[in-house]
Symmetry: C2
């Protein structure tokens, strides 16, 4: 069962100078592997895996489970036939609560209790990643993402929902078995807020989505385009945050990932798998993160925003220069990264 | 000799949506150790060290060198007696140029050539860190920082100067021998810009420096104060970016690090050494970064800003949640971190 009420010690705090929110989530200390900050690798042993049999390992009653898209058994599928399994995170950074959190003042400071949802999305195969799934399998995962997105979007306190995937220890994964996570937040986070503001400003000035203008330019220039299919364009962004960063955009203007239909999801599965395989081959299987940026949960539209997926391979460490300035330094120009990935079969 | 002219392939690029600048610095790929992204440790062998004899290893003619503060030899000190040695970084992210860089448009994009200064500040001892120096030795390092700061502050294109220190491979260091770096930028970086804006807004509303208000509150509450001497206060910030983050503030309002006098520098040496030793002891010698946040190079005043040092131990990896939201998640509440560090002898 999901425990209700704020996580003990979990609270948002606002930096009194920059105004940005951070999250103190002290319950996360209790994760079995959380103490080992610099792991070379995670144990791939099935017997230690908490996700091979989520029910046995206490990953709760599922919030949602789906059978394999090509399930051949007769009769109604049973939970034992799960292929995607979504459960509350056992070590949540946030926890549901009846009441929406309020900003509380404390001298110069502002804080807010850590109310929200933190879920884990597990695929059945212990070794097979998204990039190794069939398009139908990956489409099922994307559909599961959407279902949980829509369920949580209706929750009264939720302002933003991020779905993300950490692959490998250098990318922050603490379990080997492939899994994604969903976090539903009572605030619009600072990075998203800035991108929304930039999109809104451009729209007001040009009457057009900034992402659509950028996609037109990229398709004309071609030097940063890595892959495209009938519905999605994958490119190495002009101003990346890490070397080999990739972004996947729907070609047709759309502010919300959750509006993608079955054909969109199949085309996205193709684009995501292709790009992850190209990264694996070109960069000797790096750890990576990917996440979905979509419009805020409660916004209508908005017309100025354009949803996308960002894929960030883990290639270097942010050091004093990056931490002290916010200027991310990348060693590989995106045009060079795009060329290398285009060439990878 | 310092090569002049923009570094090939080094340029600032602006994200068309968020408006933030990143830096593509492809020359940095050539660093001997740059390819090994996940190093457990750096070689401590003296024979491989590029900093034990900076002249022999091609670290140029020094921009500045200083003898040991307790030098006992007779006659004028010779460069061979160096104790602090500052030279241009052999693998610079930025390079000086006669002309200030201009923002150039390219479709929806903006770019600017990578003009600036990138220097390396080496202390003589191969093994001894800032935290292990005498107050007089550390004061000499801080004085050297200030001298280079003041020299570069006068350069026409320079808007912001960051001095930073990466300790250990997980914090981005590629050389074992202790060293700091200085980067002089032709822009005010995004993180600094947001803090300046927040400080200015508070000042306009309250007629007072936000940092001074915060320091008063912290001294009254005490729960986040870790150490203080007659001139500096060290605290675990209310909204940290990483577990065990520490900040060192001058108690007296001052916008500029470079205005610290000899007594300030001695008191700062004490505070910095104490806090780095407490971190080493409490956290089993983690890698860390520290950097100095001071007012922009060309600003007069400004009264609303308050310089300080941020110390960030490397305790975890930013994963999809942090990368996708900008909300940094910390596992250890700053009050708990402060308690643990206060108790460390």
């Amino acid at each position: 069962m999901t425990k209700k009420g704020p996580v003990p010690g979990s609270e948002f705090r606002r930096d009194p100078v920059s105004g940005d929110w951070i999250l103190v989530a002290s319950g996360r200390q209790k994760r079995p592997r959380a103490k080992v900050a610099h792991r070379d690798r995670l144990s791939s042993a099935v017997k230690e895996c908490p996700f091979d049999d989520p029910q046995a390992s206490g990953n709760g009653v599922p919030l949602l489970w789906l059978p394999h898209p090509k399930r051949t058994g007769s009769g109604e599928p049973d939970a034992k036939d799960w292929w995607v399994w979504i459960a509350p995170n056992k070590f949540p950074a946030l926890r549901p609560h009846r009441d929406c959190p309020q900003i509380e003042g404390d001298g110069s400071y502002q804080r807010m209790s850590g109310v929200g949802f933190h879920e884990i999305i597990i695929t059945r195969d212990h070794d097979r990643r998204v990039s190794e799934m069939t398009p139908e399998e990956a489409e099922t995962v994307l559909y599961a993402y959407q279902e949980r997105y829509r369920a949580l979007q209706r929750e009264p306190c939720i302002e933003y929902i991020l779905i993300f995937h950490n692959q490998g220890p250098a990318a922050g994964a603490t379990v080997y078995h492939p899994h994604s996570q969903l976090i539903a937040l009572p605030i619009i986070p600072p990075d998203v807020s800035r991108s929304l503001e930039g999109s809104r400003t451009y729209y007001a000035a040009h009457g057009r989505c900034v992402h659509c203008s950028m996609l037109d330019w990229e398709r004309e220039k071609k030097e940063r385009v890595v892959y495209e299919n009938d519905r999605f364009l994958v490119l190495s962004p002009f101003a990346p945050r890490v070397s080999y960063e990739m972004r996947i955009y729907p070609k047709k203007h759309e502010s919300r990932f959750e509006n993608a239909d079955a054909s969109d999801r199949l085309a996205l599965s193709d684009a995501l798998s292709v790009i992850l395989r190209k990264i694996k081959k070109t960069m000797d299987d790096p750890d990576y993160n990917f996440f979905i940026h979509t419009a805020p949960a409660k916004a209508t539209g908005p017309d100025y925003y354009h949803w996308h997926i960002e894929v960030l391979p883990h290639t270097s460490t942010w050091a004093g220069l990056e931490l002290g300035t916010g200027i991310e330094v990348v060693a590989i120009p995106p045009e060079e990264a795009a060329g290398a990935l285009r060439a990878a079969k």
